[in-house]
């Protein structure tokens, strides 16, 4: 008889910090005390505090320990599981975690604390066990949809929830689905975009590793709503652990008739396949992703036709991000009005962020839309590292924008960020302190795009190379004023003329950097790096021109802008 359960965080970061040794030590100690039959030990996803990893959660008490070394693990077995005493010394700080589960309270003073919709199970359950998922309301939404709702009602619910795509573009999900529904061609397909390669983003990996069934259920619901009976998950080739977890989850769901033919003895059938990529950033662009799935080089297709009209195998296809799909089951289960009660008016729900850089705690955070960057840094990031001053943040991964300190208090959702010419993007938050040089940062970002450009169109292929060259000259202190003008010019061209989102996004770090930190670029022309990062040499008798107030707006251009016959459709969806 099982009386206790021990969950050990088994994500990559925990494994890296010795979670496996801790697990082995716990198992060894359990068998020493003869508790093997009474206590079940398994891995779970990450809990929300990366400074506590590897974490150990003991149920039914719900005590969270962390970080736990192998010796600590053995001690917990002796004290907690054998003698029945909670080890206070090793417990995770309770001001952050509630006593019952590894969760923060929803409201903390006047600010929001972490609110989990997408990650509500990750870290609480064993992702390898479908039973764990089902006990925690898993597949209830699918059951509800199949037994009580028509496909049109499911679609209507998602539309009414105002869910927006979480891959970066923020396109209304319900609207995208309805484009597919309105196509007469059969069959239709559902594709889950798990080619997460935006630098600084790893939310999708942790969702897939921590709660794979949520994504499968979301896909099945999408399939039901749009009339598709087959779905693919395109996962990046580097995510081997997530791929295995998905394949296992699919097998389990098929065995229980929650996927496959005639799901829950209804007429609805839905099969899910996993297709792994082979390393290419561009394959996250949805048409390049489809090309790759069909066995081609991952170069983007011309749009229109959009994938909703002609996608995988030329058929109408829904392409959604992992996080978007994981939002669907709770929406169907709890209703659209519940979902709209979280977040902001225009962007309801939560957003999963990955926080990196010069903060005390890096890692994954899920908060309601509309939480400000300052709140996220102060509450979840534990403030700036070494008490340094915030200089800038790069939001949305490499394709995102560089934002200065005066935007710290903007509520982060798609619309408000957009109105400040900043992007929410994939949810990566790279926080930089005063020791960061914006020119150096822009150089590294553009270097990334130059490497990842697929080479199909000239503005991107040549533009990224030229921008990199100009930035390198700036970095090394060789640049003249004309180089800076030229850089700006090329950046504008690349943004306007590139074929797909990659080339359009590549100049954004430069343009937004220039917009907010122009004087720093000017200083480099005089061979001065204010942050002292670049290998520059001061030039004698150099005067920087008086910086004019020249701040070209950087419209955030989502790469998934679908055409709308009637603009009121998008209003309606919002």
């Amino acid at each position: 008889m099982i009386r206790s359960r021990v969950l050990i965080s088994g994500d990559l970061m925990s494994l890296h910090r010795g979670a496996e040794e801790t697990k082995l030590a716990i198992e060894a100690e359990l068998s020493y005390y003869g508790l093997t039959d009474e206590v079940e030990v398994s891995y779970t996803g990450q809990i929300d505090r990366s400074d506590l990893l590897p974490a150990v959660v003991v149920y039914p008490e719900g005590v969270v320990y962390g970080p736990v070394t192998p010796e600590d693990g053995a001690f917990i077995v002796e004290e907690h599981l054998y003698k029945g005493r909670v080890v206070e010394r090793l417990k995770a700080p309770v001001d952050i975690l509630t006593s019952q589960t590894a969760r923060v309270i929803e409201q903390k003073g006047t600010t929001y604390a972490q609110k989990r919709v997408v990650l509500r199970r990750a870290g609480d359950i064993d992702p390898d066990s479908i039973e764990d998922y089902i006990i925690n309301d898993g597949y209830f939404a699918l059951g509800k949809a199949l037994s009580e709702m028509t496909p049109a009602e499911v679609l209507q619910e998602v539309k009414a929830s105002k869910l927006q795509g979480r891959g970066g573009a923020g396109f209304p999900t319900g609207l995208k689905w309805s484009f597919v529904v309105s196509q007469p061609e059969e069959p239709k397909y559902v594709v889950c975009n798990a080619d997460e390669s935006e630098p600084g983003t790893f939310k999708d990996r942790l969702i897939l590793e921590g709660d794979p069934h949520a994504v499968l259920e979301g896909m099945a619901l999408a399939g039901y709503a749009v009339g598709a009976s087959e779905g693919w998950i395109y996962i990046r080739g580097e995510y081997k652990m997530a791929k295995e977890k998905l394949q296992r989850a699919i097998r389990q769901a098929e065995e229980m008739n929650l996927l496959g033919d005639n799901i829950m003895e209804t007429d609805f059938s839905f099969h899910i396949h996993v297709h792994a990529g082979a390393g290419a950033y561009i394959c996250g662009e949805e048409t390049a992703l489809l090309e790759s799935m069909e066995g081609n080089r991952g170069v983007p297709r011309i749009r229109p036709p959009y994938p909703t009209v002609s996608g995988f195998r030329g058929q109408p296809t829904v392409v959604n991000n992992v996080e978007t799909l994981a939002n669907v089951p709770p929406i169907i289960l709890n209703g659209a009005s519940w979902f709209r009660s979280i977040g902001t008016e225009n962007s309801p729900g939560t957003k999963v962020y990955t926080m990196l850089g010069d903060v005390n705690v890096t890692g994954l955070v899920e908060t309601p839309m509309g939480t400000t960057l300052r709140e996220i840094i102060e509450i979840y990031g534990g403030g700036m590292k070494d008490g340094k001053t915030f200089k800038c943040a790069q939001t949305g991964g490499s394709a995102g924008t560089i934002i200065p300190a005066d935007l710290l208090d903007v509520p982060m959702d798609f619309a408000s960020m957009g109105s400040h010419n900043a992007g929410l993007g994939s949810g990566a938050l790279l926080v930089c302190d005063e020791n960061t040089c914006v020119v150096d940062l822009a150089y590294v970002l553009v270097r990334f795009f130059k490497t990842e450009s697929c080479g199909k169109c000239t503005p991107c292929r040549v533009g990224t190379a030229q921008m990199l060259e100009a930035l390198d000259r700036l970095r090394k202190g060789y640049a003249k004023q004309s180089d800076l003008e030229r850089l700006e010019e090329i950046a504008e061209y690349a943004r306007e003329a590139s074929f797909c989102g990659l080339g359009q996004a590549a100049p954004v770090p430069i343009l937004s950097g220039l917009c907010h930190f122009r004087e720093e670029f000017e200083a480099h022309i005089c061979g001065e790096c204010p942050a002292g990062v670049c290998p520059t040499a001061p030039k004698p008798a150099c005067e920087t021109p008086v910086a004019e107030e020249k701040c070209a707006p950087v419209p955030w251009r989502p790469d998934t802008e679908y055409p709308l016959d009637d603009p009121s459709q998008i209003e309606e969806a919002r």
Binding site: L12, M13, H16, S50, E196, S197, E198, P199, G200, T201, F202, R205, R236, G237, E238, Y239, K240, H275, A276, G277, A278, G279, A280, Y281, S292, M293, E294, G295, N296, R297, G298, T354, L356, G357, D358, T362, G363, L364, Q394, S398, A428, L430, C432, T436, D440, L441, V444, L445, R447, F448, T451, E452, C454
Partner: protein, 167 residues
């Protein structure tokens, strides 16, 4: 000669297995090439020709696809492949210094293989473990929170292992 033939036969057996798993249409191409590459380190012209024949595709098409993706290599690589993340989050966490240490320690610039065919040093884009940056991947293992000393220690460990294996 004999070993070459054996290797060839093993390669064909593996290809059969992969075709069984992924199918023999063009849609299987990327996955088959990646798994073959995982097994062999890199793909030779003969490998690509075999895949082309099995999937009934032109060789040029197979080469075009193989040369596009970073996890598939059409050039010989060293025994160990070091992939170092060069993106902004790792850079901000001190990646520039690690970059130099790696080049010094292995004695090759990025993108190259050492003369003794032991090491290939490659930049890579995000490995999705940014919270522990700077990060590098040696063969299939990811190492995070790198410092110059840690890098030297890791490389020394692989060298030690290789020596042990040869003796």
């Amino acid at each position: 000669m004999q070993t070459q033939e054996v290797a060839m036969e093993e390669g064909i057996a593996l290809l059969d297995q992969l075709v069984e798993e992924y199918g023999d249409t063009q849609e299987a191409l990327v996955e088959i090439l990646r798994d073959l590459n995982d097994d062999k380190g890199h793909l030779t012209r003969e490998d690509l020709a075999q895949v082309a024949e099995r999937l009934r595709l032109p060789e040029s098409k197979v080469y075009a696809v193989a040369s596009f993706y970073t996890l598939i290599s059409v050039k010989p690589t060293g025994k160990h492949v070091v992939r170092f993340c060069e993106d902004a989050p790792c850079h901000v966490a001190g990646g520039a210094e690690i970059w130099e240490v790696l080049e010094q320690e292995l004695g090759v610039p990025f993108g190259e293989t050492t003369f003794d065919d032991q090491w290939t040093l490659m930049p890579t884009s995000c490995l999705g473990t940014c919270a522990v940056g700077p990060v590098m991947m040696v063969d299939d293992d990811i190492y995070g929170n790198l410092t110059p000393d840690k890098v030297r220690e890791i490389i020394a460990r692989y060298r030690e292992q290789d020596k042990g294996g040869a003796a």
